[in-house]
């Protein structure tokens, strides 16, 4: 099993939430479970909603129409662009870093 990231961009709650919503709208509880499953990071409820608040303010995600007490959130077009840029930047750094780590 891969080691869980404790710091760095792979543990950034905003990036993790955006990545989770890339597969479709989810409510808070589903995001938390999904992030735990694909990244091995457990987001606390307070951390999750602080990150959701920031993402909504930045218009990177938006709440869907009310459906009971748990509102689903979806990725906006701006959010999808932002996520793509962040992941591409991470891939460039990861590729370069891994290449340099490889013995000559």
């Amino acid at each position: 099993m891969a080691r869980k990231p404790k710091t760095g961009p792979a543990s950034d709650p905003e990036l993790l939430i955006l990545s989770s919503l890339a597969s479709g709208p989810k409510h808070g509880y589903a995001i938390m479970g999904d992030v735990e499953a694909f990244a091995g990071v457990t987001l606390g409820p307070g951390t999750l909603y602080t990150a959701i608040t920031r993402l909504v303010e930045k218009k990177l995600i938006a709440p869907e129409s009310d459906s009971g007490r748990q509102r689903p959130y979806r990725l906006t077009a701006q959010g999808a662009t932002d996520l793509t840029e962040q992941l591409n930047a991470m891939r460039r750094v990861a590729t370069a870093g891994l290449r340099r780590l490889r013995p000559a």
Partner: protein
């Protein structure tokens, strides 16, 4: 019990935030076991949301409160030598140039943010002044209750330390003053005696920060006027 804890935690968030996300967070907390780490996580994030929602005057005021509290604690543990800046900070914080600039700056900022009446700038400065004065009022309250003693230092005197005198508040006084004191015989009339050890009246220390509030209001208003001038200068002249 769990519901009560969740309700208390939710109350730590700003009202606007609670209206938007409170229901969802409550639902999530009810569905999980409420461990210490979850309580800590919610508590920390609630404080963060409070800070994000706070007015600039509240943040500056809290910053000043911490600076003054730091000065107050060091005054008891290891008093600074006579004439140092930290002794002035506690005794005349309302008259320090940097502090006045802070009040005026906050007045400018408040006007630029709200574009409202000038009294909003004045009230923002009053808020800073009140928060900054809390450690002084605390010192006064401790003096009134007898927990804290007072030692008066004149130029050249060596500061006393906590280890020598217990809980003592050091007060710095540049002048020899006449004190009205009763000497030996309690029935004798009061006499004026030259003394370097006239401690400040505890009630005076307790109330002193409140007397700085009107001046702070005026400094804030001045900042508001400056803000108004900046806004007018920035506006294009209509034909």
């Amino acid at each position: 019990m769990k519901t009560r804890i969740i309700r208390a935690l939710l109350r730590l968030y700003p009202a606007n935030w609670r209206r938007e996300y409170g229901g969802e967070l409550t639902h999530m907390l009810l569905a999980r076991p409420l461990t210490a780490s979850i309580v800590g996580d919610v508590f920390r994030n609630a404080l963060w949301q409070r800070l994000r929602a706070a007015e600039i005057s509240t943040l500056v005021g809290l910053g000043m409160l911490l600076v003054m509290l730091n000065g107050f604690i060091w005054n008891i543990i290891a008093p600074s030598p006579y004439g140092s800046e930290s002794s002035m900070l506690l005794q005349d914080f309302g008259g320090l140039n940097l502090y006045i600039l802070l009040l005026v700056g906050c007045g400018v900022w408040t006007h630029l943010r709200r574009r409202g009446k000038l009294d909003q700038s004045g009230l923002a400065a009053v808020k800073i002044s009140f928060l900054a004065g809390i450690p002084i009022m605390l010192a006064g309250a401790l003096m009134v209750s007898g927990v804290l003693g007072v030692i008066v230092l004149g130029p050249g005197d060596i500061p006393s330390t906590f280890h020598q005198h217990g809980f003592t508040y050091t007060y710095y006084d540049a002048t020899l003053r006449s004190c009205w004191i009763r000497v030996q015989d309690p029935t004798a009339p009061l006499k004026a005696v030259q003394s370097t050890t006239c401690p400040p009246a505890p009630l005076g220390v307790l109330l002193a920060p409140l007397f700085t509030l009107p001046a702070s209001y005026l400094w804030g208003m001045l900042g508001g006027l400056l803000g108004r001038w900046i806004v007018r200068r920035g506006r294009p002249v209509s034909a």
